[in-house]
Point group: C2
Chain length 297, copies 2
């Protein structure tokens, strides 16, 4: 039997088997091709149109539709512009103030052990109002500050954070991360969450709604909220209190639910605030020098 | 012919067709099942193991390997803890200071028109040092502040930003976004980039290297850098200068290259700083009230 007649014989007498083999090849090819199309689509999407990246997420620049009649600015377009004449300080005073402000801020340290001494509501109101003076993308002010002083709610917050942190330290955080935190003597116990007289939970609004019912986009909401948090920390330091700047990992859903915040809000930071405990310690670490953080051109 | 014999006859004489139909059904079932598994995996992945999300990116908590001999904290583990005894202000003073600090920060406005009056280097040094007192994830201090006063470099920066902004306004930004910026009278012309005596470009270090050559992870680098920027803005306001907080869209690569920053740095913010132009105006907009931004519990 030569090759050709062998092939013909196989086809004639074993057509089922041949047919099955062909079908299986077809299935495998289809699945493989599907995967390649998927990967290829991802690469094209990332390069071709220079997508608008806002807060690390692609923005489809056509997502608001082409109907320009319906495009209404979040703030009225005919908002007048008014003169801005802030107090003009002589340069000697500018120099003196920038030195004294640095001296003040250089004494700030992150504190993990608090006195239980209560903070007057007016103090909390003022530091929150100060945070609210922060700039934000297109003046969207995408923040909500939840200030908790009620002992039961603080206890509930502590319960949630400690449960999640136990998982974080045991399983979710990389081993290197856990190691990098060792000098700070942190673990999943968070007694400061009930000791500190007030907890400030900083929520970011991913978007909101205008009076006409249209969605208001919150451009650069993550960077805006963190800038506001920096101003909050500056206010806390200026008036003579201390805080811990913490980012409770994987606690967003549970804390949002506990505090009855809407789904367009995400927890970004949790700051216990108060006076330091009389025995507070801090790790003896240094800050980088000016030359290490600044480049002059 | 009854149903049974009809079925048998079909199977016997048309087995090819039956077989093909069965195969096609199998293919369809497999593809459908694959899609369901994919969707199901996505839902489970979001809930069950709660992947470690750092700076919006999934962290594979095994990515540093299992070799714990090689895990060295970025800061020495036996760093001593020292007492922290900041100045204790009487509560009346705390109240007074938080009121005055709010009054100071409430007068801050974003400014887009600057006097060309130079700023002394010492002022710039101090406000950068103040920003450097910011807290950061695991004390990684993941920031570089590039301060540009050279007119040619400012001009080059302006050239790049204006080119990219022209594309942003014309093509990349959503129509709604462009509309939302109209009250601020912004467009792709950025004269303040050459008028302002100094530009502060805030770069974020995505990671760095330790002395032993190992990579240092920068946990929460985005939020850390933005908090530092908030403290920078507070310092600028305190000493009596003004700034614009801007996020130059799509300018990272070109500006990083111009300023010779390494690839582990990303441009986050660009702040022109100086005194306001004598004819500066600002949009007549209001800030949210305390009740709109604060929830008490």
């Amino acid at each position: 039997m030569n090759i050709i007649s062998l092939t013909v014989w196989t086809l004639e007498s074993h057509c089922f088997i041949v047919y099955t083999v062909l079908i299986i090849c077809f299935i495998i090819f289809t699945m493989f091709h599907q995967n390649r199309m998927e990967a290829s689509r991802n690469r094209i999407g990332a390069k071709k149109i220079a997508p608008v990246i806002v807060d690390g997420k692609d923005r489809d620049h056509n997502d608001d539709g082409d109907d320009t009649d319906f495009l209404v600015p979040a703030i009225s377009e005919d908002t007048p512009h008014i003169p801005y004449r802030p107090k003009k300080r002589p340069m000697e005073e500018v120099l003196e103030r920038c030195r004294e402000y640095f001296e003040l801020m250089a004494t700030r340290r992150t504190v993990r052990s608090f006195s239980t001494e209560p903070i007057p509501q007016e103090v909390l109101d003022n530091i929150i109002k100060t945070a609210g003076t922060s700039p934000s993308g297109a003046h969207t002010e995408p923040w909500t500050f939840v200030v908790v002083q009620d002992p039961d709610i603080k206890q509930a917050i502590r319960g949630i954070v400690e449960e999640e942190e136990e998982q974080n330290y045991a399983r979710r955080m990389s081993r290197q991360w856990v190691t990098d935190l060792k000098p700070f003597a942190t673990n999943y116990n968070k007694p400061y969450l009930t000791e500190a007289p007030a907890l400030i939970l900083v929520f970011r609004q991913t978007h909101s709604w205008r009076e006409d019912g249209k969605k208001r986009m919150h451009y650069y909401s993550e960077i805006s909220v963190a800038i506001a948090a920096g101003i909050l920390i500056a206010a806390i330091q200026y008036c003579g209190l201390v805080a811990l700047t913490s980012t409770p990992l994987n606690c967003n859903s549970r804390l949002r639910s506990l505090l009855q915040r809407p789904t367009n809000e995400r927890l970004e930071l949790l700051l216990p605030v108060g006076r330091p405990h009389e025995n507070t310690t801090v790790p003896d670490i240094q800050r980088k020098s000016l030359e290490e953080i600044m480049v002059r051109m």
